[in-house]
């Protein structure tokens, strides 16, 4: 067996080397679609980017060169500016390419700066207004590099990325992007290896690898998912300056990074900074079937099957969280109630399908929770018909309990889906007839 394991590790090693072209594709889109990040606040799993001024504060603490800058909360703050003109004013939003829409402006004096700040504060970028601006000394780079440190789940190692073609050119020159896998304990030679792969020479080898090393330490010290500097400005005399930066916080580690948690908590419109919280999340779609399942895989499979049967999910809730410490599975019943409550609050839900499998609660316990929800809801509002799929201990008792309140229970997902679709069709026919008779009446 030891030999077998040994072989596997060897295979893994070879795979690591072969599979790295995937990473390039990843980076393209990391650059292309920074706005996509906001879409991932689902299921208690959040990807949190710090704002630029927060990222730069971390850079400063690490000794990564950044320009003198000042946080601007309101235009009048510019009267007390401590950095010399000319300055750059930058909208602090999570969206890339803010420069193209006017989120970055230059100013030569206080009057211009206040006017520019007012304009930026009133400029929505993809619907979001900045709460904060960053005033920064103006800098004229000779060249711009790209640097990043991130984690790769395929190789299960940190990776260093770099290109001599940074700034907005990085996409067009992706073939110049170089990468180094940190497959053992980090040592600065990994950073030098990247600098050389990037084609750097002379004193830039030492200065750029020093920045990479600091980025790596930042990633490790603060449990981050990504540290990116783009552009890293290079002056005519080869001095370096991080002009823009991105830091992505790791949700799972936030609980042991109190200073980061405080930063994240200060960001407007950010989800709960608690690491992997126990809350139930709903995802809204556009159909008429409510979906509640246990576990991400089963949720996806159930949504797929509904769509295959020409059903249209209105929303879905994944109870999940069986292995979360803050949320042991014995609170499944409570989470089920919360989930149903969220689903029934969505307008236009005609049928709700519940698909529960595994976990420590018996079928009867789940059925009791459903019955309790219906009883509680009967007082407040009408609940659409439910279709339930359960498997396991005390199935028959559960089925009898729910049958008594007209909730059908099935043992297979396919059956539950078929019954759900029958109800949707029936509902459509009833509504069709109703509107037909309405038309008749109005005629």
């Amino acid at each position: 067996m030891q030999l077998l394991l040994h072989l596997q590790f060897q295979i893994l090693g070879t795979l690591k080397k072969v599979l790295f072209n995937f990473l390039l594709t990843k980076i393209v889109t990391l650059l292309k679609f920074p706005e996509s990040l906001s879409l991932f606040a689902l299921f208690g799993l959040k990807l949190m980017d710090l704002l630029e001024y927060q990222a730069k504060e971390l850079f400063r603490q690490m000794g990564i060169p950044v320009l003198p800058s000042q946080r601007i909360d309101r235009p009048t703050d510019l009267k007390g500016l401590r950095i010399p003109f000319p300055i750059v004013l930058k909208s602090q939003v999570y969206i890339g390419a803010r420069g193209k829409v006017g989120g970055i402006r230059f100013a030569e004096n206080t009057i211009d700066a206040i006017a520019a700040a007012q304009a930026i504060f009133h400029l929505p970028i993809l619907g979001k207004y900045p709460k904060v601006l960053l005033a920064e000394a103006k800098y004229n780079p000779d060249r711009e590099f790209y640097l990043a440190v991130t984690l790769d789940s395929a190789t299960r190692c940190p990776v260093l990325l770099g290109s001599q073609y940074g700034g907005i050119e990085v996409e067009a020159h992706l073939q110049h992007m170089r990468q180094v896998i940190v497959d053992q304990e980090f040592s600065p030679f990994y950073a030098r290896r990247l600098a050389l792969k990037m084609g750097l020479q002379g004193k830039l080898i030492a200065s750029v690898s020093a920045v990479i090393e600091k980025m790596y330490r930042l990633l490790v010290d603060r449990d981050l998912d990504l540290v990116e500097i783009n552009p890293l400005a290079v002056s005519a005399n080869e001095e370096l300056m991080a002009l823009d930066g991105k830091v992505t916080v790791n949700d799972a580690a936030l609980g042991r990074q109190p200073s980061l948690a405080a930063l994240v908590a200060a960001i407007p419109n950010q989800p709960n900074p608690n690491p992997i919280a126990c809350g139930v999340n709903i995802v809204e779609l556009e159909g008429d079937i409510g979906v509640l399942c246990s576990g991400a895989g089963l949720t996806m499979a159930t949504l797929d099957l509904l769509q295959k049967a020409k059903g249209k999910p209105a929303n879905f809730v994944d109870l999940g969280g069986d292995y979360r410490h803050c949320c042991p599975p014995n609170v499944l019943q409570e989470r089920l109630k919360q989930g149903l409550d969220l689903i029934t609050q969505t307008k236009g839900v005609k049928v709700i399908v519940i698909n529960i499998l595994g976990g420590v609660a018996s079928c009867l316990q789940v059925a009791e929770a459903i019955a309790a929800f219906l009883k509680w809801q009967a007082v407040n509002r009408q609940v659409p018909p439910l279709v339930v799929r359960l498997v396991g201990d005390q199935f028959h008792a559960a089925r009898n309990l729910l049958a008594a309140i007209d909730v059908p229970v099935f043992e297979s997902t396919d059956e539950a889906i078929a019954h759900t679709m029958a109800l949707v069709t029936e509902n459509a026919n009833v509504t069709g007839k109703r509107s037909a008779s309405l038309m008749l009446a109005s005629a």
Binding site: S153, D318, Y323
Partner: protein
């Protein structure tokens, strides 16, 4: 790697809420849990299992341990797992969700030098139907047989196992590799383990959108796996930009951005088809495809 013949299993975090919920089910299976570890609970007995403060104390009393299952809170996983490796346990199953990725990077470096197999985190673990349960798989979904299941999901593994069981097709082993961002073992590692497992005749691979692990697995199968493989992929109709649940899928999708071919159900289905692997369009189709694969195998042998 014959999990079924394991005699001595240790549960780390036996006094934790998760341990308290799942240990009775493991004991009932019956899994030979000979020791529990929960610092501060040494000397107590939980579910008839002696509890120790430190793994090495347990080893002194019960002897060498074959595998350990972890229910400790996420920030304690790295330390507990390193303690297990130091006590020469070479199979670790981490059930806990939300282990910081950099802890996993550190742990995997240690695992690689000691040739330790790690399953998880955020994993239902391993079940050898009728023999042993190293994790949280619900026993009622499984029956002994010759089909191996490898999955990125927990509940979807149970779903596919249940369909196989109802169709009269038993399973040799089922493993959920876990849903966190950085995982101890990959689909490829498990494909290799099942390829070499004498009791496994066919393999079912259960994938989902996000990341590139299915694409990598498909390539590995065409290069290194001789046993028939059937696949199922969940998430084909999920709107773009809405990855579900598993951190691995979410993070990978984030880095992969939107609109990229890698990571979609379509890209995974294509990868499997190019490798000659039939892909079921729903869990209930898996048994039929497995049946056909086994029949082909029978004909080839005959």
């Amino acid at each position: 790697m014959n999990f079924a013949c394991y005699q001595k299993i240790l549960v780390y975090g036996i006094a934790e809420p998760l341990g308290a919920l799942y240990v009775p089910k493991m004991v009932a299976y019956p899994t030979p849990i000979v020791a529990g570890v929960s610092p501060g609970y040494g000397g107590q007995t939980i579910e008839g299992i002696p509890v120790f403060d430190l793994i090495e104390q347990a080893v002194e009393v019960v002897g060498a341990i074959d595998a350990a299952v972890f229910f400790v809170p996420p920030y304690e996983v790295l330390d507990a797992a390193l303690e297990a490796i130091a006590a020469e346990i070479r199979q670790l199953i981490i059930v806990t969700e939300g282990v910081p990725p950099l802890d996993m990077v550190k742990l995997l470096r240690e695992a690689e030098t000691t040739e330790t197999l790690i399953v998880g985190p955020n994993s239902p673990g391993i079940i050898v139907p009728g023999q042993i349960l190293l994790g949280t798989h619900p026993a009622y979904c499984y029956q002994p047989g010759s089909v191996g299941l490898i999955s990125r999901s927990g509940t979807l593994t149970y779903e596919v196992a249940l369909e196989l069981t109802r169709a009269g097709i038993g399973q040799s082993i089922a493993v959920g590799i876990g849903g966190d961002q950085i995982l101890g073992s990959s689909l490829q590692q498990w494909l290799q383990i099942l390829e070499e497992d004498d009791r496994t005749e066919a393999i079912v691979l259960i994938g989902e959108i996000g990341g590139e692990s299915e694409e990598m697995a498909a390539r590995y199968i065409s290069e290194a796996i001789d046993k028939p493989v059937v696949a199922y992929i969940a998430g084909s109709t999920l709107p773009k930009g809405q990855p579900v649940g598993h951190a691995g899928a979410v993070i990978a999708a984030k880095i992969a951005g939107l609109g990229v071919e890698i990571g979609t159900a379509e890209s995974k289905r294509l990868a499997f088809e190019q490798a000659g692997i039939p892909v079921a369009d729903r869990p209930s189709k898996v048994p039929k495809l497995v049946q056909q694969a086994l029949e082909r195998l029978g004909r080839d042998r005959g």
